[in-house]
Point group: C2
Chain length 105, copies 2
């Protein structure tokens, strides 16, 4: 067993969104990203099998998708996406998200 | 892509902890459990390969382990456990957790 805390381990930065690797194993990879308003994880995708979840821990913003599609993102949201589908996140307020990728890439 | 919100979909119950299946696929299974104070997911394990994460969305309590071991659990904590290692959760306050199991069981 291993325990870590997002609030202790990762802060916000005015320069760019911050990226904290919570865990990586053969089974999944878990990352925490913190965004200041306007910061974003640009839309991207990878041509491999698997799915990812994006959980909004706090804050509001938008989930980004294919062809500039957006949908609102708020605390408590879970977005599920194939790794091969374009996906991204943009923040409107300070925003913490937890991303789980299975299998890890 | 699929979006769901924990706060919209799952509440608390005085009778027993509540269990909301957020997502299940060949890659992972995602569950949300809500506990009132004193409610618990008893220690258990399964003899299969894989790992799970328990993210504390809100509230405080304890992570439970082998031989009645406990460690404090609070908002922002991520616990990683092998599926084959005994694990559980007990709440001290109203507590929401998000559990991801890979591969799904």
């Amino acid at each position: 067993m291993k325990k870590t805390n997002l609030y202790d381990e990762n802060d916000f930065s005015d320069t760019a969104f911050t990226n904290y690797l919570v865990h990586e194993s053969p089974y999944f990879k878990i990352l925490n990203f913190n965004f200041k308003p306007g910061q974003e994880l640009p839309v991207h995708s990878h041509e491999i099998e698997g799915q990812l979840s994006i959980f909004v821990v706090e804050g509001t913003g938008e989930f980004l998708g294919k062809d500039e599609a957006t949908q609102p993102a708020r605390s408590g949201d879970v977005l599920i996406s194939d790794i091969s589908d374009p996906h991204g996140v943009r923040a409107k307020t300070d925003m913490r998200v937890l991303v789980t990728i299975a299998p890890p890439i």
